[in-house]
Symmetry: D2
Subunit: 347 residues, 4 copies
C-alpha cells in the first residue's frame, strides 16, 4: 500500500500515519520529495479496510492498494487454467461447452423432450430451474423438489449432467441430492452466506455475474466459494444493467478476456438473459465464443410462447439446432471446438 500525502501535509500528519502503520505491526517506508511525502506500507497482512481508513486521515491525498484483494481465484497462486470434469463433460478445457435447456422445469415431458433436442443439437449439459427467483411475489416460482426429480429423470434419459439454481442455504441439501452443478443467480451473487454454504457442498458452482457487479467483486464472490476448499467454480457473464432499454441487459463481452487475464476459472456467457429477446441470442452467443468464452448457457423451450418464464428469450428446438453449427464454426475459427458427444458430427 502506498499513501500519498497532500502537498501541505504537516510533519505531525505524516507521523500519525506512520504511527498507525506501526501499531498494526507493519513497517513504513518514507519517500520525502520536494513537493510531498509518500509513505509505503511494508509487511503483511494489510487489513482489508486500511485503505478506507487512511483515505479519511488528515493530510492524506490518496491511498493506493497494490496487492490484489482476491487470491485463490487469481493466476498468482494457480498458474494452470482450471478444468472441471462433470460426469463425462470437461469444462474449461480446449472445447467450448454448451449448456442448454428451459428457463423453468414445467413438466417431465417439456424437460425430457428439451434435453433430447438440445443434446441432439450439440449441448452437453442440461439446465432447468426448479427454484426460480422472481421480481414479483405473484409470478411462477418453480416446481421445487418435483422439478429436481424431473431434471434427474432427464439426466437418466440422456446421460447429460444437470445444472440448477439454489437460492437459499436451506435448499442446498435438497438441490445437492439431484444437481451436478449448483447455479448461483445474478441476484444472489453477493449473498455471501449462500456462497459459503454452497462452497461446502462438494460440487461445482457456477456464479452468474450480478447486475451491477464489478469484475473484481465477482472474483471475490468466487473467492467465498473457493475459501471453503471448493476449487470448481465457473463464472458466467449474463449482462449488466445500463441505460439502454432495447436489451434486457447489456452483455459485457469484454468480461470474457478481462476475467481470463485475471483468473484461472472458466468463464461462460449467457446470451439469453443478456438479450432478453430471442432474435439477439444467436449473435451474442457467437460473440461470446469469439471473445474466448469457455462455454455458453442458452435457454431452449419446446414452445417458448407458452413458457412459464422467460419465453421471450428462449429458442425453439429448430432455432437451437440451427445455431449450434454456427457456434461450432466460430469455435473452430478461434482454435477451439464444440464439446460434443458425437451426434452433432454425425458419428
Amino acid at each position: 500500500m502506498i499513501i500519498v500525502m497532500e502537498t501541505g501535509a504537516t510533519p505531525k500528519q505524516v507521523n500519525d500515519v506512520v504511527s498507525r502503520i506501526k501499531t498494526l505491526g507493519l513497517d513504513a517506508h518514507l519517500s520525502e520529495g520536494e513537493e510531498r511525502t509518500i509513505v509505503g506500507v511494508v509487511g503483511a497482512p494489510i487489513p482489508p479496510t486500511l485503505d478506507d481508513e487512511f483515505e479519511s486521515h488528515g493530510g492524506v491525498q490518496q491511498v493506493v492498494r497494490i496487492t490484489k484483494k482476491y487470491k485463490l481465484t487469481g493466476w498468482d497462486f494457480h498458474p494452470q487454467k482450471t478444468v472441471i470434469r462433470v460426469r463425462d463433460v470437461e469444462i474449461g478445457g480446449d472445447e467450448v461447452t454448451v449448456i442448454a435447456g428451459p428457463c423453468s422445469v414445467e413438466s417431465e415431458d417439456q424437460t425430457v423432450s428439451t434435453a433430447r433436442a438440445v443434446k441432439a443439437a450439440g449441448a452437453t449439459i442440461l439446465r432447468g430451474g426448479a427454484h426460480k427467483p422472481r421480481t414479483s411475489p405473484y409470478e411462477f416460482r418453480g416446481l421445487g423438489r418435483r422439478g429436481l426429480e424431473i431434471l434427474a429423470t432427464a439426466r437418466e434419459e440422456t446421460g447429460m449432467p444437470i445444472i440448477t439454481e439454489v437460492m437459499t442455504p436451506a435448499d442446498i441439501d435438497q438441490v445437492g441430492q439431484f444437481t451436478d452443478i449448483f447455479q448461483i443467480g445474478a441476484r444472489n451473487a453477493q449473498n455471501y452466506l449462500l456462497l459459503e454454504e454452497v462452497g461446502k457442498a462438494g460440487k461445482p458452482v457456477m456464479i452468474k455475474r450480478g447486475l451491477s457487479m464489478m469484475i473484481e467483486e465477482w472474483l471475490l464472490a468466487a473467492e467465498y466459494v473457493m475459501a471453503q476448499g471448493n476449487p470448481d467454480v465457473i463464472l458466467c457473464e449474463r449482462g449488466v444493467r445500463t441505460f439502454e432499454p432495447l436489451t434486457r441487459n447489456t452483455l459485457d463481452v469484454s468480461a470474457v478476456p478481462v476475467v481470463r487475464g485475471m483468473s484461472h476459472l472458466p468463464i461462460f456467457v449467457d446470451p439469453s438473459h443478456a438479450a432478453g429477446k430471442r432474435a439477439l441470442v444467436g449473435s451474442l452467443a457467437l460473440a461470446g465464443v469469439a471473445a474466448g468464452a469457455d462455454g455458453l448457457m442458452i435457454e431452449v423451450h419446446p414452445n417458448p410462447d407458452q413458457a412459464l418464464s422467460d419465453g421471450a428469450q428462449s429458442l425453439t428446438f429448430d432455432q437451437f439446432a440451427e445455431l449450434t453449427p454456427r457456434i461450432a464454426a466460430v469455435a473452430g475459427a478461434v482454435g477451439r471446438s464444440l464439446c460434443a458427444t458425437g451426434s452433432l458430427l454425425g458419428v
Copy 2:
C-alpha cells in the same frame, strides 16, 4: 394490457394473439385502424409474464402493461400513509426520524458510548451491524450473537429501539430475539426467500435499495414482505451504482419523491453509504430531508479512523452533534420537525 400489432401483421397473426388470450380465460377487444390493429386484453388476472410472451409473438410490435405489478405497496389499496410505531418512536409521521450508530458493533463500550452520544444529539433509533456482508471473505464480518447482545445492552442503557441487519433466513430467529427492526441490506434486496421469511417474523423491516435496483423492483421487494401479512416496511435509498468514481455510490435523491408518489411506505435516506466519504455525509443528509425523506440513517463512530468497517464514511460524535441541528432546521423549512426525545431541544 394493450397489444399493438405491426403495420404489416397478417390476419392470422392477429387471430393467433386473440386465441391465445381466450385460452387464458381472458377477453380480447380489437380496434382495427387504417394502419394497424390494436388488441386490448380484458379480464383478470393477467399472467405476469404475458407481456414477455406477446412481445416475441409474430406480428406484434409492442406490448403495453397498464396495471401495476405492485399492489400492497401502492396507494390504490392503502390510501393512508403508513406510520410505524417502534417502542416510543413513530416512523413515517410528521417528524423526521434519525437512526444513527456504528457500522459494526465492535465492543460494548464503543456501542453504548455511541448510543448515548447519538441520542444526546437527537437520534431516536440505534443502528449497528452484528452480521456484516463483506465483499471479500477476508474482512471482518461482525460479532454475531455477541453483537446482538451488545445492541440490547445499549437499548437498555438508552431506551432507544435498535435496528440491525439480517443476512440469511437461518439467522432470523436469533436476530429477531434482539432487534426491533430488521434491516435487509442492499446486496440482499432481491434475495426473495429472505424477504419472505423476514416478512413472517412479526417486526418492521427496512429494505435498502439494491445497487442497481429500479424503483419498481424495490416496491416489489417490499411486496414480498407485505404479502406475508407484515404491513410495516420502510424503504431506504442508499445510492445506486453509476460511472462516477468520486462517490462510493450515487445518491438517487429523486427516489424520495418518486417513492412518495407511488407508495404509502416511509422512505429513508442513508447518506453514509451513498457518499462513502465523511465530508459529504452532511450535505446528502440535508438534501434527503429537503426532498421529503421520512428519516435518515447515519453512521457514527467514536473513533472512525480505527473502525473495523466503513470508517471513512462515519461521523465522529462531534460531527454528528453539529449536524443534527442543521437537519432540524431543514426539516422545519419543509414543514416537519426532528423526532426528538427532548434532549436536543434542551427540554
Copy 3:
C-alpha cells in the same frame, strides 16, 4: 399514439384530452372499458413532443407512442441494406471491412509506414486523427491541416481511402478537401449542427456512438445527416460508459444485432476505444465480427509506447498482422469474408 387514462379519470379529463387532440387537426378514437378509458390518436403528423405533453395531463396514466421517431434510417422506407462505395472499397456488403491506423497523425513517416503495414495485413481504409478532441485542454490536439496533408500522402502511397474526424462546422471544408469519409466522434454524436453541416458535405459520414447514447438516439443522429440528403452513413459502436473500471468503456456488442434489426445502415465496431487496453482489442474485434458487424476500426501504431495519444490501446504492426487472419477466420465462420485487396491472400 395511445393515451391510457387513469382508473379514476373524470369525463372532463377525458374530454380535455380529446379536445387537445382535435386542436392539433388529429382525430381521437375512444375505447371505454369497465375500468378505464383508452384514447387512440389517429392522423399525422403527430407532434414529436405530444407524448411528453400528455404524460403530464390530468387523468392520464401512460402515453404510448407507436410510430417510430426515426424514418430515413429505418427499414420501413429503405428495405435494402445500405452499401457504400468509397474508392475501391465497399462498406456494408458481404465483406467485413477493416479500418486501421494511428489514433493521431504524428508525422509522415509514422502515418505512411502504418498505412503500408495495415494494408499488407488486410486493412482497406486508413484512419488517423488530425483534429483530436481531448478531455483536457493541455493535451496534444493533432496536427490540423498538416495532418490532413499527411493522410493524403499516405493515400497516394498506398491507394487506401482515408477517414478522419471533423470536430466543428468551420473545419468541414478543410477536412472535406482531404478525407474520403468524415468521422463524427463520440463526444460530438449529439452535436446536431455539426451533424447537419456534415450531412451537406457530400461524403460518407461515420457516427461513433456517444458514451451514454441510447440506440434510438443514435439512429436519430444519423437521421440528422440523412435528412440533408446524404444516404451514406455508417454507425460505429465504441463502448458505452458503465460502472466497470477495468475497461475504458463497456463494448455493447448487442448494439450490432439491435441496429441490424432497426436500420439498413452499416454497423462497425471499434474495439480499441471500447477496451482502452491493447490486450483486449483482439477478443473484442472477433466478438464484433461474430455478432455481425460490417467492419472494424482498429488503432495501430509503429511504436505505441510513444504515441502522442491512446498508446495504451494501439496494436503494434506485428500484433495487427497476427490479428487479421483471425478476423478473417471468424468472418468466414459467420458466412462473410475479409474485404482485402489481395495481399492478405497472397495474390
Copy 4:
C-alpha cells in the same frame, strides 16, 4: 506519478521505464522493496498521456497519477470562491440565485409574461432557449435570432439579466450580442472547440454537466473556458443517465458538495431536466439548495401543456410562486438567503 512494477518485473523492464522517464527530461526515483520496485517520477510537466503509456509497458502493474489534471478550476491556485456579478445579480456569493423561464422562447407574450411572473416570485435571472438542441431533426428548434430579440425585450421590461444556450461557434457572435450569460448544454459539454470559442467571448459561461460526464471531466471542460482567460464559469448539475426509467435523468445531488470540495466555481442545480416531470421539480430544487447549491435553474411556462418543448417538466406560474418561499426557507435553514430584488419579501 508513481509506477508500481509487477512482482516478477525484470531489471530490464525497470530500466526501460527509467530510461523512458529520462528521455522526457524527468527524473526517476527508485524504491526497491522485497517484493517489488516502485518508480517515482519527479519533475514537471508530466505529459498528460504518460500514465496511459506506462500502463501498457511490460512489467508495470499500476500507474498512479498524483497531480490533478485540472488547474485553473481547482482551489490550489484560486483559494477564494468565485463570485460572478451579472448586472445587479451576484452569483456564487452568500445568496442562492434562482434562474427561471421557459424551456424555449416561443413568443414575446409568452416570454415577457413568464419573466414578470418569475421575477415577482423571486427569480433574478431569466432563462429561455432560442437555439434548441433536439434529439430528433423533426422537432421544434427554437426561434433563433427572433428568440434572442424577445429575450432582450423581456430584459428591458423586467431588468432581469438573461441566459440562453449557444450550440455552435458560428452562433457565438449573434448570441453574444444579446445574452448576459452563455449556456453550454449537456450534449455540448465536451464540444471542446465550442468551449474554447465561448471562452473568448468575454461573458460568463454556464456549463451543464454531460449525461455521463465524470465530475473531473466537467472541471476539465470548465478548464477549456478558463484557459482562454475567462474566469466566470458556472457549473450546473442536471442529472446523469442511469438505468432508472422513472426519472428522465438521475439528479446527482452529491455533485454539489463534491464540486465544492474540488473547485471555487459556483455550482447550480437544474431540477427540471433532471426530473423530467413537474411533480418532482420542487423536491429536487429543495434538495439541491439543502446540499449547498449556489443556485437553481427552473423551467416555468404560462401554459406547460402547450409548450413547444419540455412541457412535462415545466412549472406553471402558480406552482413556481408556491415553490420559491419553500426554497427561501431551505436556503435560510442552511445559512443562506434567496437572492431577491425585493418583490418576494414584499419590499
